[in-house]
Every structure is written in structure tokens, then in C-alpha cells.
Symmetry: D4
Subunit: 165 residues, 8 copies
């Protein structure tokens, strides 16, 4: 079995329905990954250890999804110099604005590459783009994916134009 290039972490198993969309995109793009629950607050030692050892274990990009105070991506970023992609999750009364601010407003020197609220898919596409600077075949796959998206949308636009007539 292939060694994972991407690690997907989430603060709680209730985050899985959103975060597994990242896994699905990676699978489609042929990227090996691993997925774990690791809370900044409830499993702080595991989280630190995971982040610290990620590079030496061959991980090249980390994706972390969390809701509310959403410290996970930032805490991971504190323990590694690998690129960390943060996915703010919609949950609780503030519906993800809290998680967005907690994820994106990092202090100088410890960046988190933040995607939109519940943007797990985009976290995976961003991981692919990052990997594409090292693996030329990924650049090719991304180009094909974009072309396919275009064709689908153009097809839908044609259907819409016909319907109107």
C-alpha cells in the first residue's frame, strides 16, 4: 500500500460528512492520503506529535478541518513547516464565521492556507495544486479536470438556452 502524501485531520467525527469530500477529491486525483481525528484541545499531544513527524513520514501537505474556535489548523501549523490547509467548518450559532476568523487570522510566521467555510473539496484541489509543482503529472490531471468542468458547464448552458426558447 502506498505511503500517504496528504494527511487529513478533523477535530471531531461529526466533521466527517464535510471532510470526507476532501478525501473523495484526492482519491479521484490519484493522491494517497490518510484521515484521522485529532483535536487541538482534546488530543493536544497527539496533534503535536502528528504534525511534528508528518514531514519525516513522507506527508507533503496537511489538511485540517474544525468548527467554532477552530484552533486545529493553527496548532498543526505551529508544529510543522509543511503547508497546512485550514477548512473552517460551519457549526454552532455563528455558523462558521468564528471558524473562518480563527483559521485565517494567524500571526506572522505561522501561516494557514485557508479555504472557504466547509470548503473541504477546495482544500483537496489546493493540495493537488501544491503537489503539482513537484509532480508534473498532477499539473496534467488538474488541467484535464478544469477542461472537463468547462465542458460540463458549457453543456448545461446550452440546455438552459434551449429550454428558454
Amino acid at each position: 500500500m502506498e505511503k500517504p502524501l496528504v494527511g487529513i485531520l478533523m477535530g471531531s467525527d461529526s466533521d466527517l460528512p464535510i471532510m470526507e469530500k476532501a478525501a473523495e477529491v484526492l482519491k479521484e486525483m490519484g493522491i494517497s492520503y490518510e484521515m484521522e481525528i485529532s483535536s487541538a484541545h482534546r488530543l493536544p499531544e497527539k496533534t503535536a506529535h502528528y504534525a511534528k513527524t508528518a514531514r519525516e513520514r513522507g506527508i507533503e501537505v496537511l489538511i485540517a478541518g474544525a468548527g467554532m474556535a477552530a484552533h486545529l489548523a493553527g496548532v498543526i501549523a505551529a508544529h510543522t513547516t509543511l503547508p497546512v490547509i485550514g477548512v473552517p467548518l460551519k457549526s454552532g450559532a455563528l455558523e462558521g464565521v468564528d471558524a473562518l476568523y480563527s483559521t485565517v487570522q494567524m500571526p506572522p510566521g505561522i501561516p494557514v492556507a485557508t479555504v472557504g467555510i466547509d470548503g473541504a473539496k477546495n482544500a483537496a484541489y489546493l493540495a493537488c495544486e501544491i503537489l503539482s509543482i513537484k509532480y508534473p503529472e498532477m499539473a496534467k490531471k488538474l488541467k484535464d479536470f478544469r477542461s472537463k468542468t468547462k465542458r460540463t458547464l458549457q453543456q448545461k448552458s446550452k440546455v438552459l438556452k434551449k429550454r428558454k426558447t
Copy 2:
């Protein structure tokens, strides 16, 4: 020299002008304290170690101030079961709303006792109130402080009423 009962932490020395107001209140109330810089992101190991050993070193309340993503109080709370008071600091474009949400919206089981934005004074008064359940003389001091506040405000009100005549 007396062993500190309260630990005051801040993410950066630029937070000092606000956070030292907590120290001033504690001094006035006769509470011993220590003050350190300890960033959740730039000094994660120190922060974890400080929090883990706080109770055994005799610390009874922790105060943590941070701005922007403001993970400090939450990360400290993850490593101790002492009460942790979070002070969201006003800084950057979001002016403390980010820090407020990051500090207060903690997941179940790991609370942070959050005070208002830049509310370092209130963090110290809250620390005194917490200590007052154990140290009866602190309850007395707080009562005196409240009485003094009342007298000052009533005096100001009298001045205002006279001015108007």
C-alpha cells in the same frame, strides 16, 4: 518571595500595554502573580509545558491574552484543568472580533472563561473572584473594592447634578 497564585501569559510583547493592567489589579488586590510571553504558535512546547505544570507549581488561575486568531487561551486550557481566563485583544483589521470568537467558542469539555475585548482588568477581577471561594480575605477585599467604586461614582454623580444647576 511569595509563590505566584496567578499566571499571566500573552502571545507577544506588543500585548503588554493591555495585559499589564491585569498585573496592576492583582497587585492592588494583593495577589502574587507571574507574567510571561508564550505563544500558542511560536512557542507551542513552552506553552504546553507551562500549562501542564501550572497546578503543581501552585498556580490556581491562568490569564491568557492574545489577538487575531488568538489560540493561546484555548491551547493552555487544553493542557490544564485549572480555570483559564481568556482576554481577546484588539489588533489587526478585525479589531478583536476575531480574537473574541477564537477565545470564547471552545468545544465542550475545554472551557475558557472569556472577558470582553481588551478586558485585562476584568480578567484580574475575575481571578480574584475565583480565588475568593478559597481565600475568605479576598471576598472581603472585593467587597471593599465594590464599595469604593460605588462611593466614587456617587460622588461623580453629585458633581454632575451640581454642574447642571
Copy 3:
């Protein structure tokens, strides 16, 4: 019957479904408590009286939950020097942002230890942490609770990893 250490107040019986989660946590942690309805606006004298007499009746921590303008925790804090934990409740069109601001932005000298919106569970855990500085067995119970949480989460992470294979 044991004298209560914690008083839980709420502004309306419609707040009970959230606020009784605080009671459940206290029960699990073996803390005696009492629970009352007491509105800052509709029962102001009772609220003031309750707060003023709480310490002498043996109460050590107060928890107050309210929605919208949410003055309850602040009004209680005005009448006691015991630590007051405020739970902003989600209700009405602003969904708890109003209650959060009303609860946390207290003036200097009268702090409210604010937890997240609908964070009744965390209010109870925070009460336990506060009590732990006086009652060593509570420190032990909190440590056990944290360990149990870790084991549960690690178990869930293992299930997730297996599922993926």
C-alpha cells in the same frame, strides 16, 4: 440533602433545554446545585436578592443563561463577588451574537466569565475547574474526565482509519 455549591439561573423556562445540560454535567461530576428561573427584567428584585445572598447560603459559583439582550449574568454579577459564568443563548433573529456581546462586554470591575453561545456544558466544566482550586478531589475528577475523552476520541480515530482502508 446536600447544600448546593452551584446556582444555575435562566431568564425563562424556554432556556431549560440548553441550561439543563449544565445540570447534567454537574450531576456527573458530583457537584450539588440548584436551578431557578430568574429574569433580570421580569423578576429584578428576586434576581438581586438571589445574587446578594448566594455567598452566605454557601453557593460558590453562579451560572446564568439568557438570550437576546441577555442582561441576566451581568445583573447577577452586579450583586455578588462570587464568580459568575454567563451562557449566551441562541434565540431570536440575531441567533446569539446579541447575547454574546451583552454577556461578555462588561465594564471594568464587574466581570462575567463568558462561555460560547449555548455553551451550558462548558459553563459547568468551568464551574468544576473553579471549584478544583479548593476541592482537590475535583481536580482528580477533571483529570479522569479528560483522560476518558481522549480515549473515546482516539478510539473513534482508529475506527475512521480502518473504515478508509
Copy 4:
């Protein structure tokens, strides 16, 4: 000296620069008033007593200005059935949004007539409008004031039009 019809309260003497604009308008409109400092949190008994006795002392409208958690108008409203006008004040990091929400989002049965942030002038005009239902000469004065405002604005518009030519 004339018995006051309007009571103006503020939570702190730092609120005076804004709140005295209400006094100025009342003076212009020939309404007798009194002005006091009375904090919901730092002078709770005085505040309750003031509100409870206001009607019997001949007060007909109350104006209360406060910033941040801004419980003052609501607490006054809890102790009287006179109309209470709340002025949310801009102060602190949230710049008055907190005070606006705390003042306007009152529970059913205890309304606060809220004006804009720092809207002390409008609080006074609203007091005049309320008094105008009882005192016909006030209706006349308000009509004159509106006419004067119109003439001033029309004059300014003419100046602007000429400038452009």
C-alpha cells in the same frame, strides 16, 4: 425651580460628552430635566431605586445612555412602566454594535425605545414627541423646529446649486 419631566442617566462620566447633547436639546425645547450617573452594574441599588420612584416624583420619560454591555436602559425599564429611551454609546472595540444589541433586543413586556448609536439628540427629540401627546404646546414647538430645519436645509441647497454654476 421647576420639577424635572425627563431624567437623563448615564453609566459613567465618560459618557457625558455624548449624553449632554440630550440635555441641550431639552433645554432648547423648554423641557425641565435632571441628569445623573447611575450604573446598572456599579450602582445597581441606586439605579433600581431611581427607576422605581421616577413616576411618583413626576418624571414622565427616562433617557439612559450606556456603552459596551449597556444594560442600563434595560435595568431601568425593569423597574418602571414609564417609557425608557435607550442610547447605545460607541466605545470599546465593538464601537457600539454591542451596546445597540444589548439595548434594543429586550424580552417581551419590558421594551426600551432605542435610538441610533450615540443618538443622544434623537433621544431628546423622541422624549419631546412623547410629551407632545400630553402637552399641546410641545406639538407646536416640534412643528416649528421641523420647519426651521427645512428652511436651513433648503437654504444650504440653494448655496450648493449656486456654487456649481
Copy 5:
């Protein structure tokens, strides 16, 4: 049939489910009222005419409810010096924050007495409080209403305490 003292206006018949709560309170309190649809944007002449003639027709308080841009209360206030109570209604994507800001942030000289979002009940209670400065029996009715509210809430608190035992 009695001449109405209060006029209730709303921008659309879709606002009726909220706005008729104001009518219900007025009925309970024995205040005669009339209720009309009158849009600031779709019926501007009617709205202006209604406001201009309200005082001479014996109306003493106006209540206006509107959602989104919510200009209704402000436009009515522009055409009368009677007290105008604005009820910002929750509707559309911004869920009433737009209506709150549009209603409360009036320019100097043209106040709107704003209540909470969807606060139609409180608009009616505020109308009663305003009328109470002129009609002593209304002061009595409001006092009775407050006492009844207190008894109901105290009864509920007793039930809650028993349940817990």
C-alpha cells in the same frame, strides 16, 4: 365605535403574522387601534398622507413594521411629530439586521423609537407606556401586567425547582 389611539402600519401583508401581535397586546390592554398596509416605496403618497393627518385624527402613537431596507418607520416619522415606534422585521438573507440598522440609525431631529427584531409585542407595550404619561389608568394596567408576569415566572421557577429534587 371608539376612535383609535394607536395606528399600526406594515409594509406588506406578509408582515401581518408578526405585526398582529402588537394588535393583540393593545386589545388586551384596552387600547383602540387601527391597522393598515402602507409601504414607504409602493404607496408613498398614502404613507405621507396617513402620517401627516394622524395627529389631527386623534392618533397618539404610531407603530410601523417593515423588513429589509425598512424605510417605513423613518418615512412616517418624517411626516409627523407624534412618537413613531419602529419594528424591524426578520426577512430575507440578512434576517433583520438590515431592517434594524435602517430603522434605528435615523438622522438628528427625526427619531424612531426602535424595538427588537420582530418585537411587535414590545412595540405595543411601549405604546402603552407612552400613553400612560397621559392616561393614569394605563399606568395602573401596566403595573398589573408586570405583577402578573412576575407571578407566572415565579410559579414556573417553583415547578422547575421541584422537578429537580
Copy 6:
């Protein structure tokens, strides 16, 4: 003197420093305009009359700037079927968010073409674009303006690139 094609209105002369930027753009683009102060609240009849007669007087586009509750553009739109461009102005504690919501969230049937906060320049460019569907020379002028903007920006980019070397 040429009959104005565009009417620029503002709620107060304090809005002039922003709103005259619209006039400057129109002058540059060779569009005749008139500029007046006309408040939705303080000059409601003038505002209505101005809007109602605008089309017959040859006006083809209206620009209205206002801050805070900012009802001006909406009230004008209620009285004309000409296109009305709204400029929300930054003023007061909410810094233009209130004006933006009040201007843009209009009910169905009465649109306001809203530009950014303090976007008086863009209001004028939008007026030119609207006029360009009728006056072909305006389309030409706009194209030239865009080309000029491009050249200026490309020049600045070149300077920046050189500086770096």
C-alpha cells in the same frame, strides 16, 4: 446653459466632500448635471416632488448619496421610474454598513442601483454607462477612459518592476 441629464442628491451638506466626486467625473465625461441637498426625512415633500418631476424635466439618471439609515435613494426610487443610483456613505459608528443595507435591500419593484460605500465616482461612471445605451458618443468616451486607465496602470507596473531590480 445645457439642461442637466443627471441629478445628484445628498441628504446633508456634510456629504458634499464625497458626493462632489460624482460631479467631477460627470464633468470630465461631458455630462450636464445638477446637484441638490434633499433629505428623505427633513425635506420629504421636496424630495418627492424632485423625484416625481425629474423625468419630465429631462433628467435621465438620478444619483443619491446618504449615510446611516440612508433612506434617500429608496424614497427617490419610490417616486420615479428613472434609474436611481444609491451611494451608501460612511458615517457614524457603523461606518456605512447601515447605509449599504438600507440602500441595497429594496423591496421588489422599486430597485436602487447600489454602488460601494462612498462610491460616488462609480455612481457617476455607472450613470455614464446607462447613458451610453442611448448616446453612442458616451460609449466611445467610456472606452477611451478604460484604455487610459489601462495605460496608466501598466506604466505604474513597469515602474514597480524596475524599482525591484
Copy 7:
């Protein structure tokens, strides 16, 4: 078949339920239009080409609806000097506030005429108002539409008044 005067674009076929309301209004008002899917991000070349050629193909007004980052209207405006009406759509966790800001806050020189969130109907009415400066019969149609709206609303108001009796 008639050449379209208005082009309606949307970023995704999921936007159709809202955006087709614009089409319905245009149909009612007798304006020919075309409707296409054209994403700023997924079909950037098509979007640019569509905008660049719109004027020469006889299009006079463009309507663009998009949610979340909502760059569509702005990108279209970058490629044409025709008036572009932007419809921010409610979708995702931020429920349209993101789309509103992304659509309305355009830089000087490239305006977007923004309507309310999900305001597709108003986008169409605004298009009609713009066309009315060139096509006098459209001014007539808009006047008739306004009159009809008034009659309907007045009828509803009468029903409401009767119900109350």
C-alpha cells in the same frame, strides 16, 4: 425571433431558481433577453468573450447573478462599458453577505449596479428603468406596473381593515 436587449448570466445552474425570476419580469415587461451559464472562474474565457461582444450584438443591459465569492458581475464589468447589474445570491455559510460585498465593493471606474441579495426581480426592473431612458414605451409600462402594484396593496389594506372590525 427578436434580438435580445438584456443578457442574464449566472455562475451555476443551481442559481437558476432565483435568476429565472429576472427572466419572468422581463417577459412580462416585453423585453427580449437571453440567459446563459457563465462562470468567472470555471469559464473565464467565455465570460470575457461574452462581455466584450455584448454591445456589438445589440445587448444593452447585463444582469449577472452569483453567490459566495461572486466575482461574475465584476469580471463582466471589466470587459464591457454596458451597465452591469449584479445580483448577490444567498448560498453557503455566509448566506449572501459575502456575495453582496464581492459584488458591490468594486474599484473606481468599473461599477456594478448592485441589487439586494437574491434580488433578481429588482435586477430586471432596474434593467427596464435603464431601457426606459431610450424607449419611451418602457417608461409607460413601468408607470402602469407601479399603478397596478398600488391598487393591489390598497386592496389588501382594505381587506385587513375590514378583518379587524
Copy 8:
């Protein structure tokens, strides 16, 4: 001269004071870069061309800073599959919240790696982290940078502790 690995773009030369901080960090880390002004709205063709040709010219990471509607990063991302880092800039009345939402809330398939408001430094550090998966010496440099940061902060903490004694 070395071929640039990172392209830094900004929408206007007024963005330079913030964006050149990214350049300074890259220089310190020994990364070659180029810096250009390229507006999504005022130079759309240049922007598209720059993005489309970036990969073939050897660029591996793109950094784009823009304020207000802030479409730049998204438009660049639409034309390349290289990782694009977006820097929302504080400007105008909304002070960067608009730019943050416009940058981060991208549709699926076209991610932008967003950093905090005015977070140009972190954009550069994130670029370094991305490059570190391909260039091992960059991983080393980042590690050294983190260590240096730790030492500086620990030194500051010691100074603070001494001061207090």
C-alpha cells in the same frame, strides 16, 4: 539573474506598502520573485495572460493582494493550476472583511489559499512552505527561521519576567 519562482501581484500601487512585505520575506528566505501591478478589473487581459503563462515561465507559486471586492486572486486562480495565495487587504469602509470574503469563498475546483487580512508576510512564508516540498533546503531554512523566532520570543519573555521582579 535568477528566474523568479514566485509572482507577486497587486491590484493597485496603493497596495505596495503592504505587499512589499511579502517581497522582503522572500528575499530573506532566498527565493527569487517578480512583482507586478495587475488588476482583475482594470487590466483583465494582462491578468489572464500573466496567470496562463506563469507555469511555463517557471513560476511555481502566485501571491495576489487586493482590497474591497478583491477579485484578483480568484481571477488569477481561474487561469492557472498553480497554487494561488490570496492576501485580502484592509481598505475602504469595510476594512478588509469584504476582501476576506471575496478572496476565501471561492467555488469548488478553483481554490485560493487565503491568509489573514494584510497578511502579506504570511503569504510569503506559505509560499516558502509550499516550495519546501520540492526544495529540501527550504525546509531547512524554515526550520531555522522558526528556531530563531522561538529564541527571540523566549528572550523577550525573560526580559518581561525580570522587569516584574
